[in-house]
Symmetry: C2
Subunit: 544 residues, 2 copies
């Protein structure tokens, strides 16, 4: 594999079906403008190909007298031409135990620095990296060092190298005790020379950048170039931790006897009165995107699944441009039948949250530390059993702190945050349950408090003073549910199937929905939910 291979590659790609010609019929179908554009693109691609082929051929003749010419180059695109029997070592496994072994490795060029007859590369795989040296000698020619020095950052290379122990720790790399002495290097995928953002800028703590006059990367640039932003150690850590949250959530509930269900996202009627719902064209009619799987979870309870959970997208057509709202997020949803009191449900959910917090603390410490380097925060604190406050107590605490509010007023976002601080001061926990919300501020299917008609059997859960879960005992009696729907002026025709679900025997039940992105954001002490959504959707962002 060398520049020769590159030529061969271009030959392979020029077979007829790859040209941009279109049949007459197809041409007629396109608008003239579109066609012109397509042709232009095709010409551009052809020109580029020609240029690269020419460069490769020039390079080739210059290399005629290079003793190392077969030891480097740009490989033909991996198109599954052959099954190579070659083991590739992982960067994280490069330790002194591998010293003096000749190994193959595939990694990205993180940085490169030429220095006389040597070129130092840092090779990266996810959050791990290692130093590699290409030096003129037996194995490498000066042309090979030059070639290595010219490989663009973020390109992917295959390297054959000897692992060598180093005397002084390499502080800048995750593998500090060894470096690689490169004997062969081939480019597997070439990155364009200009990156839209620099990885080192993208992991720089906010303050540091400003103080030292160095660049940081703003949120929109990150999100516009998410494929590169996700390569940073911080992003890798965030989304590996997020994967962990889902796994801990499901494993805990499966152990408790919950069954996973799949609920439809396209629904015929807006579940909660029609506000904030996205409309979908559905063949000759229209439909909506589910704002929550709740009605379906409840049907499953009425269908004897007893305890269910689901993990899936939730859609809110709210024009809220805040740090914590998304138009599409991932809901971790729970619903369960209980025997006599909905606190059985609260206990199940809080225990699940505690198992998640413990699992993260015990198994994701590396990820937490990595994120903390860029975004410092206090470790997340929680109590066992979880603190449960009643709404009236919270109102009293806020009033004591100078807030004016009525008994049945909902909590504003600033008041939620203030309450979080007051609770932290008093109880030393970042996680708690607020129980017994005023009936007036909750949805129609919320069970009223039997002892005080102004309140309800409902609750929210908070992390670092922000809501992550909303839940309640649900009304499981068709007649009371009808009355509550009428009181909320909901069109009964539209929720007929829902109400009918409770006519054939329904156990008392309750549940709640957790926002995955919020849990990750607040656990890590981050400040924007877009940092914990891979491809966030908000009123202004639909791409990538």
């Amino acid at each position: 594999m060398s520049w020769n291979s590159l030529n061969k590659h271009w030959e392979e790609l020029s077979f007829p079906s790859f040209t941009a010609g279109a049949t007459e019929e197809e041409q007629q179908a396109q608008s003239k403008k579109a066609l012109k554009k397509q042709q232009k693109e095709a010409e551009k691609a052809a020109k580029k190909a020609e240029k690269q082929a020419k460069m490769a051929s020039e390079q080739q003749s210059a290399e005629e007298d290079d003793f190392a010419k077969d030891r480097y180059g740009v490989s033909a695109m991996v198109q599954s031409q052959q099954k190579l029997d070659r083991e590739l070592v992982r960067v994280q496994d490069l330790t002194p135990e591998k010293a003096d072994q000749l190994i193959w490795l595939r990694a990205r060029v993180h940085t490169s620095r030429a220095k006389g007859k040597q070129c130092f590369l840092v090779l990266r795989q996810q959050q791990f990296n290692v130093q590699a040296l290409v030096a003129v000698g037996d194995r490498a020619s000066k042309q090979m060092v030059k070639f290595a020095a010219n490989i663009t950052k973020e390109s992917i290379v295959d390297v054959e190298a000897i692992v060598r122990k180093v005397e002084q720790k390499i502080e800048s790399c995750s593998q500090q005790d060894v470096e690689l002495h490169v004997e062969r290097i081939f480019v597997i995928s070439q990155a364009e020379p200009r990156l839209p953002l620099q990885l080192e800028d993208a992991v720089r703590p906010d303050g540091e950048g400003e103080e030292e006059g160095r660049a940081t990367v703003n949120q929109d640039t990150r999100l516009d170039n998410r494929v590169i932003d996700l390569r940073t150690t911080t992003s890798q850590a965030v989304f590996r931790l997020q994967s962990g949250v889902c796994q801990l959530f499901r494993d805990t509930l499966t152990k408790k006897g919950f069954v996973e269900i799949q609920t439809p996202k396209i629904i015929s009627a807006a579940s909660e009165g029609g506000a904030n719902v996205f409309t979908v064209s559905y063949f000759k009619t229209s439909a909506f995107l589910a704002q929550s799987p709740q009605l379906y979870k409840q049907m499953c309870i009425c269908a004897d699944f007893d305890k269910v959970f689901c993990v899936g997208p939730v859609f809110r057509a709210e024009d809220s441009n805040t740090h914590r709202h998304l138009t599409e997020f991932v809901g971790l949803d729970i619903e369960m039948a209980f025997n006599y009191h909905y606190h059985e449900v609260i206990d199940s959910i809080t225990d699940t949250m505690v198992q998640i917090f413990k699992g993260l603390r015990d198994n994701f410490q590396t990820e937490i530390q990595t994120v903390n380097k860029q975004f410092p925060s206090e470790p997340f604190k929680f109590l066992e059993p979880t603190l449960r406050l009643e709404y009236t107590e919270a109102v009293a605490m806020l009033r004591e702190a100078g807030v004016e509010m009525g008994d049945e007023d909902d909590l504003s976002t600033p008041n939620e945050k203030l309450l979080g601080r007051l609770v932290k001061e008093k109880y030393d926990t970042d996680f708690y349950v607020l129980d017994k919300y005023p009936l007036a501020v909750r949805p129609f299917y919320t069970m009223p408090d039997p002892s005080n008609p102004k309140y309800s059997n409902s609750y929210d859960m908070f992390m670092r003073g922000e809501e992550i879960l909303s839940g309640a005992q649900r009304v499981h009696d068709a007649q009371l549910l009808t009355e509550r729907a009428i009181h909320h002026q909901i069109d009964l025709e539209k929720i007929k199937a829902y109400i009918d679900s409770f006519r054939y025997g329904a156990p008392p039940h309750g549940g709640g929905g957790i926002g995955l992105e919020r849990v990750c954001m607040l656990y890590l002490g981050l400040h924007n939910v877009r940092q914990t959504s891979m491809f966030p959707r908000d009123p202004k962002r639909l791409t990538p």
Copy 2:
């Protein structure tokens, strides 16, 4: 708790906020017609309540001389009035070891049969049931037996009873060695007397019903009344097995080092040319529902996540009314970087499928047997390693069987099924991979075969002759991808973000998407994908 409690219940529910009055402003907002309807509903509800209260009060006076009057009745709705310290035993735990113990139990009335001074109930919890006897004696009066006999089927009851060993096995129940001698019985949730379908009809094998002139339940009746249909032993088994498929899929991949990702479902551009895609109103613009998470999975590979999977809804606006098409289904998606050959990907996926098949065979035998009782089928067969055929071999097999088709023709559904039978005869497997599809029948991002431009590095996987997965090596080179898109006449502007993902170094990679409902249907030998979708969506069905 007795009829007294019922009265109390109605009193509680009549506090002011529960009436259907609306303020003047709210009334103006409603249309007159809607208002009238609401009022009518409210009147109806009030009348019904009055009638029930009257009945309860009459009953009450009749019970004055009933020595057992506190031992039965309709309980007040469970509204979390109290935290009862009462353990409820599970039906499946009712074994001879519990003989002569006094226990409490909550279950549904599956059937009831009065016989002189006795009433036999079958009490059900999911797939388990037990016989219960209410007989006139020390503990039960004749009024109590009458009450028990009148409890509507599917109502939920709390029962206090002594567990008794029986001399002759009760063949009709899952708990064959014991029965319950009931001492107290309270209705927790009353089912309406007329059920839209009978559970015993809903589990009757198709042929049996016709032969003996007994009813079976057609698909639409089932789906219209899904909450009841899901209570059958067959449905309980199907969806517990489905939950198992998801868990086995994730656990296997997690062990292999895959990371779970969450991909957006609302997207700005139709990914594959714009056909068969649902349109969503998105604030002042419009968007689409993702037909697959594939583009996002690939971006994650370009973002160094190396191996990823996701489980989530997939939307297809196809007007196909067949046994195997849904407009919304659950995709189990895989994408991974590979080293030199896409068969590394095929091997990962087939091993994952084999682990799922083994897990189902070993841990879900009860569920499989339960479904087989209603829908008999041959056990699912698979080979290790998985059989892999090339497309040209398949075409040859079909031609030998008399099918006329060109080398590059796609497989029709009947030919897929025929091929499945031929493969089963020749290789004795229900699962195999068909590799190297003609390039012309695959999407633009499919990697061409390096040795034959008419074919591609792509594959489908089949269970019992039906496709469950489609996958390929993807084009990871921005330039080749551009050429392929132009060839397919795709507007480059619309897929710019996608193509740009490959400009900054992209590893060779491949993957595939599995349809969850199809896997469950075909593993169990069922014949309609609506049987394995809890709330199926097709061009004609959007409810419940």
